[in-house]
């Protein structure tokens, strides 16, 4: 028996909230800032006398790790607050943090590997810091896979908050492993380098001048802008999924 659907096309709407002005401004700042930081690193800063042109990759390599740190940090905070308050919004922040952080840490890993080829004469070594950075990427990749495997929405949010909290330990390990396992060859640019470090260079005023704005950009503006956009998207995807269920149940 054919039942007349109760849903009309006009009922199937996703609330279109216009982009907030702050987000639009933030986006413009981020794009311009990114262009500016590229200019600083690629053109304004001098060529490193020992490493040559490839040293410029450092102006992306190190800031991108800190960008990932911010993003994964938001995942941690989002997870903690979600578990305490149970507001979906915090879970969206956590998810967006993982996606953005994963992209940033991949940039970090790839640029490091590309830098290592001419400087260490190898694409990859199983150095403690490199290993832990790779583990960090894998952990957050696992986050996305695990998330896709859980159907129940509330359960998914709670589980992924827990996983996001656990995963942050790998970020801390990557950050501090140089102090824990001293025989790394990864150089430390700011602070004392481990004895075996290879390929370090001096943080002269020129390096710092070119690095600091990039660091600030990657640490705050790039993750925040991208995460914000991702959150808005996630909100709409969730709304669409609700509509789909609604339409199917009719």
């Amino acid at each position: 028996m054919w039942e007349k659907p109760k849903l009309a096309a006009s009922d199937l709407q996703i609330e279109e909230s216009p982009q907030p002005r702050t987000l639009r401004i933030l986006t413009v700042i981020t794009v311009l800032g990114f262009a500016g930081s590229l200019y600083l690193g690629l053109a304004a800063a001098g060529t490193d006398i020992l490493q040559g042109e490839i040293q410029r990759i450092f102006y992306i390599h190190m800031p991108s790790f800190f960008g990932a740190f911010t993003a994964f940090g938001l995942t941690l905070i989002g997870g903690l607050i979600y578990l305490a308050r149970r507001r979906e919004h915090w879970d969206r922040i956590a998810l967006a943090g993982v996606e953005v952080g994963l992209a940033f840490s991949l940039i970090n890993l790839l640029t490091g590997s590309i830098w290592a080829r001419p400087i260490w004469n190898t694409w990859w070594t199983w150095d403690p810091r490199l290993t832990s950075a790779a583990i960090m990427c894998l952990t957050y990749a696992a986050y996305l896979m695990l998330r896709a495997g859980i159907d129940d929405l509330d359960r998914r949010r709670a589980f992924m908050s827990v996983y996001g909290i656990l995963a942050f330990v790998t970020v801390l390990i990557t950050l501090f492993i140089i102090r824990i396992v001293p025989e790394t060859i990864h150089p430390v640019i700011v602070g004392a380098s481990p004895q075996n470090a290879q390929g370090g260079f001096e943080a002269t005023s020129g390096v710092v001048m070119a690095l600091f704005p990039s660091l600030l950009l990657w640490l705050i503006f790039m993750p925040l802008t991208l995460i914000w956009h991702r959150i808005r998207l996630e909100k709409r995807i969730e709304a669409l999924n609700r509509l789909k269920t609604l339409a199917l149940s009719e």
């Binding site: 702050t22 800032g33 500016g36 060529t47 704005p213 991208l226 709409r236």
Partner: protein, 287 residues
């Protein structure tokens, strides 16, 4: 909102300050001699005698020549001797000093030759496949000999290269000398320790697990300049093969990943709109 704008102003202020100041901090615009096999910095102020495959720079007032060449021989001693003889028209004979030292890119051999009282050569040589790289510092008509070498650090925890300087002086100078005056010197190639006495000047720079040394008979006035030029060539050689393609590769990787992230946002947004339209169309058709 206010915070965003304040922070943004701060970032752009920093960007512009950075753009102005980054220029000054570095050895900006170091020009490189580039060839198939190697790259070395071009020494400003020196006469450029390079050919297509050999980098050679000459400074007439010091009688000094710094030469980098690749010799198609896999015997380091023979290759170094052949390169020097061919370039300077003198038979340099057997080296008076020979030592192996591990630098950043492999095992190098430090050699010192004395052809006659007028001409001496300090050579750093390394095998590269079946060829030999020879970087030499040759001094003709010297007032006093000038020698350059690299040595493995005897005590890695020592703060400076004074230990290696003392060893080298013992091995190379006759009679051995003690150098009592001491100062430190910042040159483009690094921080040097300079020791001197009435008769000798010696310099040493610590880099990694090795010390780079320069010794001059008589109070060698131009020694810092010569040592800096030679070691810039040496360091520039092994740390700066032409690596700008890698920079391009790194940038490409960065853009591809960021592009994928941003692209996926757009793509998912589009898919969402499509789904929504489909859903509405279905509902419309039914209704």
């Amino acid at each position: 909102m206010k915070i965003t704008i304040t922070l943004a102003t701060f970032v752009f202020a920093l960007l512009s300050v950075g753009a102005v100041n980054a220029q000054g901090g570095e050895a900006n615009g170091v020009a490189y001699f580039r060839s198939r096999a190697f790259n070395v910095p071009i020494l400003a102020g020196w006469e450029d005698q390079s050919t297509e495959t050999v980098a050679q720079f000459h400074l007439a007032e010091a009688g000094a020549t710094i030469r980098t060449a690749v010799v198609p021989q896999d015997d380091i001693l023979a290759a170094a001797g052949a390169d020097l003889s061919a370039a300077f028209g003198v038979d340099f004979g057997a080296p008076i000093y020979q030592d192996k030292v591990n630098l950043a890119d492999g095992t190098w051999t430090a050699l010192i030759y004395e052809a006659n009282a007028r001409i001496s050569a300090s050579v750093m040589a390394r095998l590269a496949g079946s060829e030999t790289v020879v970087i030499s510092f040759v001094e003709s008509d010297p007032v006093g000999r000038i020698l350059m070498l690299a040595a493995t650090r005897s005590d890695e925890s020592a703060a400076d290269a004074s230990g290696e300087i003392a060893t080298a002086i013992d091995r190379l100078l006759d009679p051995p000398a003690t150098l009592e005056r001491q100062e430190s010197l910042a040159l483009p190639s690094g921080e040097w320790l300079l020791l001197s006495s009435e008769r000798y000047t010696a310099m040493g720079m610590v880099f990694g697990n090795d010390s780079y040394l320069a010794i001059a008979e008589l109070a060698g006035e131009p020694l810092p300049m010569l040592a800096d030029a030679f070691n810039r060539t040496l360091l520039g050689f092994f740390i700066t093969p032409d690596n700008s393609p890698y920079l391009a590769l790194g940038l490409a990787a960065t853009f591809i990943i960021l592009g994928t992230l941003v692209g996926s946002l757009f793509w998912r947004e589009r898919a969402l709109r499509k789904d929504l339209a489909l859903l509405q169309a279905l509902a419309g058709a039914d209704g």
